[in-house]
C-alpha cells in the first residue's frame, strides 16, 4: 500500500529537486491520505479507497508535466541539451557483452563550477532489447512529447519526463541517471566502480562502458546522493576546475572492510565565493574515490583534516560510503557516514 503511494509520488514529482520535491510529495500525500480516509469512512476496503483516491488525482505523468512547467527552468535545460556530444559510446552488459549505445554530454558551466561530470543518455531501443534478452518483459511507451514510460515487472514504471529524454537521428535516448535513481529506490540495488560502473538490480547486472569506451559515472553518483545531502543539510555539492585547483593536499584513508569497487565521497566545506549563497545555505566541495585494496586516495582542500558527520553541525570533512540504496519512505539515504580513526588517516 505505502509502496504504491510512494511510486505514485515519485513519478509525479520526478525532476523536482531537494526540499521542493519533498514539499510537493508531502502535499500530494496529504491529499491522498485524506481522500482515502473519506472513502474508508464509507466502508470502502483500503485497497479500493486508495484506488479511488489515485484515480481522482489523475495520472502521475500529467501532474509531473504540470509541476515541471511551474518549477523548472527551461532556459538552463535547453543550454544543457545543446552542449556538445562527447561521442557515441557504448554500454556493455556484464554476462554476454551486449552493447547499448549511449551519449555523454558535457554540461555548460555558467559559473566556475559544474555540478559534476557529463550527463549520460542511453539508447532506448537497445536497452529494451537487452532486457528482452535477459527475459525481462519490460515495455516502453513513448508519448508524443518524447516523455517515456518504462514498465518493468515486479516494480513500478519509470517515467522519463521530456527533459530526461532526447531524440537524435530518429533514436530515442533516456537519461541514465534517472534510470539509476529509480532503480535504486525500488529494487535490490548495487552500484560499483567510478569508471565503467557495474549496476545490479534484482537479478539483472549490466556494466556501463568498457576500456575502449570509458564511462564516467561521477554524475551518476552525484545524482544519487545530492538530493539527500541537500535535504539533510541545505548544502549543495560543487566540483569543477575552480574546486580542483583547491584540492592540492594528498590524503589517504584506510577502509579495511571496503569491498572491491566500492565508491566513497569526501565532502569538505566550500569557500563562500564558489557558490550562490542566496540559493544554498552552504556548500561542500566533493570528490569521489574507489576503494583500492582497502585504501581511498583523495586530494584535500586543507593540509590536515578533522572528520565530522553530516548530522553534526560543526564544519569539518565528511566521508560517505555510497550504498546507492535509497528508501525515501523511511528516509534512508543512499550513503552511510564513515568516521575514520586517527591511525587510518595518512598524508602521503
Amino acid at each position: 500500500m505505502q509502496k504504491r503511494i510512494e511510486q505514485y509520488l515519485n513519478q509525479a514529482t520526478r525532476g523536482l529537486w531537494g526540499k521542493k520535491r519533498q514539499q510537493v510529495k508531502q502535499e500530494l500525500y496529504s491529499h491522498i491520505y485524506e481522500k482515502m480516509q473519506f472513502h474508508l469512512s464509507f466502508g470502502q476496503p483500503e485497497e479500493e479507497a486508495l484506488k479511488s483516491a489515485l484515480q481522482a488525482l489523475g495520472k502521475p505523468a500529467e501532474i509531473n508535466t504540470g509541476l515541471l512547467k511551474t518549477h523548472t527552468f527551461p532556459a538552463l535545460t535547453k543550454s544543457l541539451l545543446l552542449a556538445g556530444l562527447l561521442g557515441g559510446f557504448l554500454v556493455s552488459q556484464a554476462q554476454n557483452q551486449k552493447m547499448i549505445g549511449f551519449h555523454q554530454k558535457s554540461e555548460v558551466c555558467t559559473t566556475q563550477t559544474c555540478s559534476g561530470g557529463p550527463v549520460t543518455f542511453i539508447e532506448a531501443d537497445a536497452l529494451m532489447q537487452t532486457l528482452a534478452e535477459q527475459n525481462i518483459p519490460a515495455t516502453l511507451k513513448v508519448e508524443f512529447n518524447n516523455g517515456a514510460l518504462l514498465t518493468l515487472p515486479n516494480m513500478h514504471s519509470i517515467y522519463f519526463n521530456p527533459l530526461n529524454t532526447f531524440q537524435k537521428e530518429g533514436k530515442l535516448y533516456l537519461s541514465f541517471e534517472e534510470l539509476i535513481t529509480t532503480l535504486s529506490i525500488e529494487t535490490d540495488f548495487k552500484i560499483r566502480h567510478l569508471k565503467n560502473p557495474e549496476v545490479t538490480f534484482n537479478t539483472t547486472t549490466f556494466r556501463a562502458g568498457d576500456q575502449r569506451h570509458p564511462f564516467d559515472a561521477t554524475r551518476t553518483y552525484q545524482n544519487l546522493i545530492a538530493p539527500d545531502i541537500y535535504n539533510r543539510t541545505g548544502a549543495t555539492l560543487i566540483s569543477g576546475p575552480a574546486v580542483s585547483a583547491l584540492q592540492i593536499y594528498a590524503l589517504s584513508i584506510k577502509v579495511p572492510d571496503a569491498q572491491e569497487g566500492e565508491v566513497y565521497a569526501l565532502l569538505q566545506p566550500a569557500p563562500a565565493h564558489l557558490y550562490d549563497s542566496s540559493l544554498f545555505q552552504k556548500a561542500f566541495t566533493i570528490q569521489y574515490a574507489e576503494a583500492d585494496q582497502g585504501t581511498l586516495n583523495f586530494k584535500s582542500v586543507s593540509p590536515q583534516v578533522k572528520f565530522s558527520s553530516l548530522e553534526h553541525g560543526s564544519p569539518g570533512t565528511v566521508l560517505l560510503k555510497i550504498t546507492g540504496k535509497i528508501n525515501y519512505w523511511k528516509s534512508l539515504p543512499p550513503f552511510e557516514g564513515i568516521q575514520p580513526l586517527a591511525n587510518q588517516i595518512f598524508y602521503p
Binding site: A12, S30, A56, P60, E62, G66, L67, T70
Partner: protein
C-alpha cells in the same frame, strides 16, 4: 466543460475560491465543485501545479498546519494583497468579455432586449 476552457479561467476560479478564507488543496477542489454544482470536473492533481504557479506569481502564500483528522499536515493557501488585485482585474476582464459576447448571442438576457 473541456480542459482548455477551464484552463483559461482557472486562475480566476482559484483566486475567487480563496477570497473568503485560506483553504488547502482538497477543500479548494470540493469548494469549486460545490460552487459550480459539478460543472467543472477535472483531475484533482492538475490543481496543484496551478496553485504553485499562483504562489510563484505572489498572488497566494502558504502555511502548513497540522491536520485535525491526523495524518500528514495540510498546506493552506491564502490570498495576498496582490492576489486580491489580480482577482479584481480578472473579474473585470471577464465582465468585459461577457459584455462583448452579448452582441453574438452569448447572453440570453441580452437577446430579449
Amino acid at each position: 466543460m473541456d480542459a482548455n476552457t477551464l484552463k483559461g479561467h482557472l486562475d480566476l476560479i482559484l483566486l475567487a475560491t480563496l477570497e473568503k478564507e485560506p483553504l488547502y488543496g482538497l477543500r479548494i477542489i470540493q469548494e469549486v465543485q460545490v460552487q459550480t454544482e459539478g460543472y467543472f470536473t477535472f483531475k484533482e492533481g492538475t490543481l496543484y501545479p496551478a496553485l504553485h504557479r499562483l504562489e510563484k506569481a505572489g498572488w497566494i502564500d502558504t502555511e502548513t498546519q497540522p491536520s485535525p483528522i491526523g495524518g500528514p499536515p495540510r498546506k493552506y493557501y491564502r490570498l495576498t494583497e496582490s492576489g486580491r488585485r489580480a482577482l479584481n482585474d480578472k473579474r473585470q476582464e471577464w465582465q468585459s468579455f461577457q459584455q462583448a459576447m452579448r452582441a453574438f448571442g452569448g447572453n440570453q438576457h441580452a437577446k430579449t432586449h
